[in-house]
Structure formats: C-alpha cells, structure tokens
C-alpha cells in the first residue's frame, strides 16, 4: 500500500501553481485556459507549442513564464537562415597560454526556458537540431554530448497564416511537444481592459514567483499524484481510438486519419493529467483531468489524410469527437439500470 499526497501537500502544490498562474494572468489578460495549459505543461516537464495569430501575446506569455519561474531564459528568433549551430552552440578556437584549442561555446539552447519564436520559419535542419535537446535534454556537437540545464523547457510559437517561407514542423518534431495550444483571440471586454490598464501594451513587471527549491518541490508533488488504473485505461483507450487500423475506431477516424497518436502521446496525457489534478487540488488523477488535457496533447499527434485536410477536417475536431464517444469507464452499466 502506497501513500498518496496528503491534503496539506496538495494544498501546498496548488498554492505554488496558483502563484505562477496569477502571474501569467496578470500578463496575459483573458486567457486563463491558455495560461492553465501552459502551467500544466511546465509542471509536467513538457514542451509547449503555441500557435496563433501575431499579437495575441504568445511571446509575452512565454517570457512571463520564464520570469516567474526564476529560471534562465533565452529567446531565439527562428529564421530560414538559422543554422543548428546557432542554437546548439559550437566549438570556437581559443588561445590559452599560447595554445590554441577548440572550446565548446553553448548556444541559446543552454537555458532552462528557451523561447523558439516562429519555429516554423527555421529550416528542417535547424528544427531537427532541437530533437535531441527536447527529448534527451542534451546536445551533441562534434561527437561531444553536452547536458542541458534542468529543468529544460522549449516554448515555441508559430504563425499559422504565413505559409510562404515557412517549414511546417515534421511529425517527429511535433511529437516532442507535450501540448500544441491554439491561442484564441480575446473578447472586446478583454481588449478594453488591456487598453485601460496598459500603456503601449507594456506588461507589468513580474517578480519571481517560485524559487528553484519550490520548483523542485512542485515537481515532486506532481510526481506524487496517483494515477488510478481505471483512468490509465481510459487514456490508453483514447489514444488507441485515434488509430484508423482498429476495427472499433470511429468511422470518421478510419476515414480521415492517416496515423494515430503514439504511446508517447499516452505518456504525455498521463503526465499532464497529473499536473492538472494538482492544479485542481486533487491527490489523484480523475477522468476530468484526462479530458481537460487530451485535446492539446493529442490534436497535433494525429496525422490526417490529405483529403481530410482539403475537406477542412481538423484533428482537433476528431479528438473532440473521440472524447465524446469513448466512455470514461471501460464497461458501461447494463441498460436495465440507471
């Protein structure tokens, strides 16, 4: 028998998270859900891809997160001519004591929080340089592997409307992101609030919300969240339902999906659901937590058929359908009872 988090521990974890949340909400007005998902992604130690129109505050949010967590923060503006070495760093020739030697000079990836702004503008070669960093948390240059500082987060943004001169992220790259969150527009009320409370759109100055120790404590709390067997089974069934090869998949999935989500997606949902549970003040994951994080965790991992894309079908819509059709509990009650 293992011990779950106590009520006090859960309360403490929630309080730490609320500090980050309130800081982000102060910067990004009217985007509570986006902020929550961002915080959840960070607590789950996953990478976040924000997709939205320019001017919605994506970069501001990422900068705020870096600031609030009190971690080292680097921003890389991705352009087509950006080379892998520009972000990973590389050897430079240095002269020391009359001797010349190649010394590794860390690139902007060597930070806790890396903002990859407009990541889809970089060439695939440069995008691929992020693969190892995002998955392995280290960088290999000239056969030498350099560990990245922990925690390590990549918070990327991309613009969905400017396709010219962009390189859509390959599936393998997308799979590395825990969440891909669509940044929604804001309402007129929120814009009024922005206009009245901000001069020249300047966000308020933020103080560091969490110390390094508190961040470790927060991660420990997330790790202590219990994932029940029934909920894990729900996650597995959800991910399996995205596969068109299965005979019991939805007709829409069988028709429109080319590749379903990988087991990494299931792991991502599980970890994100733990963070969501802590954010909700629970010592264990519930079905509701899974339903909350499933859409941003699955949508970018489901590869659609070309015909489906042409027909305007989105993977987000398909995942939403799955959430509505796949029952939370594996076996429903008999029809004779209610």
């Amino acid at each position: 028998m293992t011990t779950m988090l106590t009520a006090a521990q859960v309360l403490r974890g929630k309080e730490l998270l609320d500090r980050v949340r309130s800081g982000c909400n102060a910067v990004l007005l009217g985007q509570q859900e986006l902020v929550d998902l961002s915080v959840i992604a960070l607590c789950a130690r996953g990478h976040l891809l924000l997709e939205g129109l320019p001017g919605l505050g994506k970069t501001e949010l990422v900068k705020a997160l870096g600031r609030l967590l009190g971690l080292s923060f680097r921003r890389v503006q991705f352009t087509p001519d950006l080379l892998p070495g520009d972000i990973t760093g590389g050897p430079i020739l240095q002269e020391r004591g009359g001797e010349r030697q190649l010394v590794f000079s860390p690139g902007p990836l060597f930070a806790n929080v890396v903002l990859a702004d407009e990541i889809n503008r970089a060439s695939p070669k440069t995008q691929s340089a992020l693969l190892e960093a995002m998955q392995e948390r280290n960088v290999t240059v000239l056969g030498q592997t350099h560990a990245l500082p922990l925690p390590f987060f990549v918070l990327a943004t991309q613009n969905p409307i400017e396709l010219e001169g962009t390189y859509p992220l390959p599936e393998a790259q997308l799979d590395r992101f825990l969440f891909k969150v669509e940044v929604p527009g804001v309402s007129a009320d929120v814009m009024t609030q922005i206009l009245t409370s901000r001069r020249r759109g300047q966000a308020p100055a933020l103080e560091v919300a969490l110390t390094a120790k508190e961040i470790d404590e927060l991660f420990a709390f997330v790790d202590g969240i219990f994932l029940p067997q029934a909920v894990a089974n729900y996650i597995a069934r959800l991910v399996a339902a995205t596969h068109p090869q299965r005979s019991d998949s939805l007709a829409a999935v069988q028709k429109n999906v080319r590749f379903g989500a990988s087991p990494r997606a299931a792991i991502a949902i599980g970890e994100a659901a733990r963070a969501a549970a802590l954010l909700a003040g629970r010592p264990n994951v519930d079905f509701a937590d899974v339903q909350r994080v499933a859409l941003p965790a699955l949508a970018h991992r489901v590869v659609l058929q070309h015909a489906a894309v042409v027909n305007g079908i989105t993977s987000a819509k398909l995942v939403q359908d799955l959430l509505e059709t796949v029952p939370a509990v594996a076996k429903a009650l008999p029809g004779a009872v209610q």
């Binding site: 028998m1 293992t2 011990t3 779950m4 988090l5 106590t6 009520a7 006090a8 219990f226 029940p228 067997q229 029934a230 909920v231 549970a277 909700a280 629970r282 010592p283 264990n284 994951v285 519930d286 079905f287 509701a288 939370a328 509990v329 594996a330 076996k331 009650l333 008999p334 029809g335 004779a336 009872v337 209610q338």
Partner: protein
C-alpha cells in the same frame, strides 16, 4: 428499504456490483419474458388461424425455464468487475477518483478519508435502480397478449356435433352410473371420481375434442367393477345377478360340520380309501378315536372344503344303489346326500352334465329348460381353467413374455410394476353359469370393448348410426 451505509469502500463497491447484477438479471429476464410472451402469442394465434387449439396447461409454466436461463447467461456476461464498479461509483458520488485510489490500495490522508466517507453517505441515492418504465411495458404487453389469446374460448370445431357414437356411449355410461348411484352403497369418493371422469369426457366432447376410447373403456369397466363391489357390499341391492350369485355360491359351499358328518358316513361305508391320498390324510388327521371327525380339524378355507367335498362326491358317485346295504343306514345316507346336494354336484342331476341333462339355465340368454351340454362337465362358468402342473401361467397368474420379446404394438399397457401383478379374473357371468344366477350380459358382451361395440353397432345398425338391439 434502503440499504445501510457501508463504512468501507469495498463494501460500497460490492453493494454497487450486487445492484448492477440484480438489474442486469431483471432486465434480461424481462426481455426474455417479452420475447417468450410474444412468441407464444404469435404461436397461439397462428395455431388458431390454422384451425388448431391448445388448451391452457400447467406445463406452460415451463416457459419460465428459458427466461431464467437467458437471464442467468446475461448476468454471467454482464457481471461487473469491482474496478469498473468503483469507477462508476466514484463518478456517481463525485469523489473525483478518491474511491478509485482507495480501491487500488492507496493509503488515504485522514482529510481524504473524511471526504470519502462523506461521499459514501450518499451511496443509497446513487445505487443503480432498474429502469422500470423502460423494462416493464414490453414484457407486460407481450404477456397480456399471450394470456388474452390463451384465454380465448376454445373454438367449436365442425366435428364437435358430429360425434353421435361418442355422445351415445357417454349417455349410456351416464345412465349406468346413475342407476349404480341410485342403488347406493357406493363410497362418496368413488362417486366423485366417477362423476369427475364422466364430466371430463362430456366436456371434451362438448368442446369438440374426441376423448380417448381407452378412457371410455376404462370407465365402462370401472362401472362394472363398482357394480360387482356394490353387489358384494350389499347383495340385496345387486341387479339380479352378482349378489345372488355370490349368495348362491356361499350357500352351495359345504360347512365343516356337514363334511365331518359326510366323512363319518363314508368311513362307515368303507369308502374313504377311494379318496385321493392327500385328502385322505387330511381326513385321518381330523378323525377322532371314536371314528367321528373333528370339524375344527378339517380345512377351514372354502376352496379346500370344496375340493374335499368334490372328492367325497366323486367317491360317493361310485357308490351304487345296490351297495346301500354295505353298512350305511338310512340316516347316514341322508346326511351324505344332504352334503352332496348342498354342493350341487349330485351325479345325474347337475345341469349341463350327463347325457341330455335338464339344467335350469338362468342367465340373460338362458332359456330355462334348455338342453344340456353333451355330458362334459366344465364346472361352473367362473371356474378357472385347470392346467397341468407344468403349464406356465393360468387364469390367476401373469404370463410373462419370453425374454427379449417386445410388447405387441396393438397391446395397451395398463401399467408396469416390479412386483408380481395382482390378477383378479372376472367371473364369467350369464348363460353358462352352471347352477348360479346370471348377473348381466352374456360372455361375448363382456369380452367386447365398447369401442369395438361401437364399430359393430355402426356396421350392423341402421343408416343413421342409431344403436341396434344392443342392450346397453
């Protein structure tokens, strides 16, 4: 009554599982009942349309067997695992996964424990309930339909009024039964049983169903038997036959005292040694030192006495008139004659015996002063056919079939038993009954079953199927 609140999550989950199982069983049973009822209704309607009819029977209760079997099968399939039940119950109680964690063995903080217990207080409210509104209408409708179709009155078949032979036979049976009851001395339970049997057959005939001829035969034979029993119980009430016959038979039986006197007369005449050795031995055992015979030491049963009397009559039959002087005085000769007369076997005066005997036949077919039967003594009409010692079977015993021999197809088994069958041969009444009053119809009538009589009646009767000159 609401169930008590369980203190442990495991008990709550078990209770939830139990409710689900009950609901599943009920649902499946009602579903099967609906299907069975509908099928039964359709079958009954189809049968009616095709001109058939099945009367309601207790065997229809067997329709519950597939219903229960299907419900049990569904219950087995839909039995819910505790983990699944825990998930359902957790959702219903709004415990946000706490019950799941507790079910999976997680140790809960006291605060979580308290929240869990608070949630479990609501257990009676969230336990699954059968959806009666959804479950009941179809089965009720189907069963009502089936019951309604089954309760419809039996159709009057065209052949129902065209069974004059059956109706006639039933009327005759009813007449016989009425006369039997009027004579009295019938136990009430027998009376009720007979009336019930007759009423059942009459009801069947009225409904257009043909009762088994076998049932008619059995009732007819039963009535005859009851007549005999009635006669035995109250000889004065017997219809001119059975009671008188029994009385005559008893009267013809010699008493031990008479036999003792006759034996003394025979002994005095020196004729005892003409008796068979076994009877002689029996007589010698009963002989006193003074030469008389102890009546109490003689065989007391009627059969043995008759046998002894017959033997003595046989011995005396060889005793001619010229031998009168051989030690027999007039009184002794009178005693001997009395005994022999009592038994009705005096040589030269027995009906049906001797050359051109003048026997007074009294049966229904007897005409009184008819001629004898050629001097061959077959004994009384009801006597069993005597067989040799090694002959198998007899009138009073069962004749078993050879091993491996199947029962002939046209035989009607009356019953089977592991014990020796009790055979009660019926005495032959009527014309051939020597020295006894006839009781009823002639022997050929008794041996003819009613169904055969009906055939003969139709064959020999008039064109309308009216009974001929049969007395019944």
């Amino acid at each position: 009554m609401r169930p008590a609140m369980p203190s442990q999550p495991t008990r709550a989950i078990a209770q939830f599982c139990q409710r689900v199982a009950i609901g599943a069983w009920l649902g499946a049973a009602l579903q099967a009942a609906a299907a069975t009822g509908l099928a039964a209704a359709v079958a009954l309607v189809t049968l009616r349309v095709c001109g058939g009819y099945v009367a309601p029977s207790p065997w229809w209760a067997l329709g519950a067997v597939p219903v229960v079997a299907y419900a049990c099968w569904r219950l087995r399939r839909e039995r819910m695992a505790p983990a699944i039940a825990a998930a359902h119950l957790d959702s219903r109680l709004g415990l946000d996964g706490l019950l799941l964690a507790a079910h999976e063995g997680q140790e809960l903080d006291p605060a979580w424990q308290e929240r869990l217990q608070q949630g479990l207080v609501r257990l009676p409210e969230v336990l699954p309930q059968p959806r009666w509104r959804r479950l009941l209408p179809m089965p009720l409708l189907a069963l009502a339909l089936a019951s309604g179709v089954a309760m419809l009155p039996a159709p009057v078949l065209p052949g129902a009024v065209k069974m004059p032979a059956l109706q006639s036979d039933l009327e005759q049976l009813a007449t016989v039964m009425r006369s039997l009851f009027e004579r009295g001395a019938i136990p009430d339970e027998v009376k009720q049983e007979l009336e019930q049997k007759l009423a059942d057959m009459q009801r069947k005939v009225a409904a257009g169903e043909a009762p088994e001829w076998r049932d008619l035969d059995q009732l007819d034979q039963r009535l005859e038997r009851e007549e005999l029993l009635q006669a035995a119980r109250d000889p004065g009430q017997a219809p001119g036959g059975a009671g008188a016959a029994i009385e005559a038979e008893n009267a013809s039986a010699p008493t031990p005292g008479q036999l003792a006197a006759a034996a003394k007369a025979l002994a005095d005449a020196g004729l005892l040694d003409r008796l068979p050795p076994n009877l002689l031995e029996a007589l010698q055992k009963a002989q006193r030192p003074d030469g008389t015979f102890d009546a109490d030491a003689l065989p007391q049963d009627l059969k043995a006495l008759k046998q002894l009397a017959e033997a003595m009559a046989g011995a005396a039959g060889k005793f001619g008139a010229g031998q009168l002087g051989a030690g027999l005085d007039g009184k002794q000769l009178a005693d001997l004659k009395k005994v022999l007369e009592q038994f009705g076997q005096q040589p030269g005066q027995t009906p049906g015996q001797g050359a051109n005997g003048q026997g007074p036949g009294q049966g229904p077919d007897g005409d009184g002063e008819q001629g004898g039967r050629g001097g061959v003594n077959r004994g009384p009409g009801h006597s069993a056919l005597s067989m040799t010692e090694d002959a198998e079977g007899g009138a009073n015993s069962a004749l078993p079939l050879p091993p491996g021999r199947a029962l002939p197809g046209d035989w009607v088994p009356l019953g089977s038993s592991k014990s020796e069958p009790q055979v009660q041969p019926e005495r032959n009444r009527g014309a051939g009954a020597t020295g006894a009053a006839g009781t009823a119809g002639a022997s050929w009538q008794l041996d003819l079953a009613p169904r055969h009589r009906a055939v003969l009646r139709r064959f020999f009767g008039d064109a309308n199927g009216e009974p001929g000159k049969d007395k019944r």
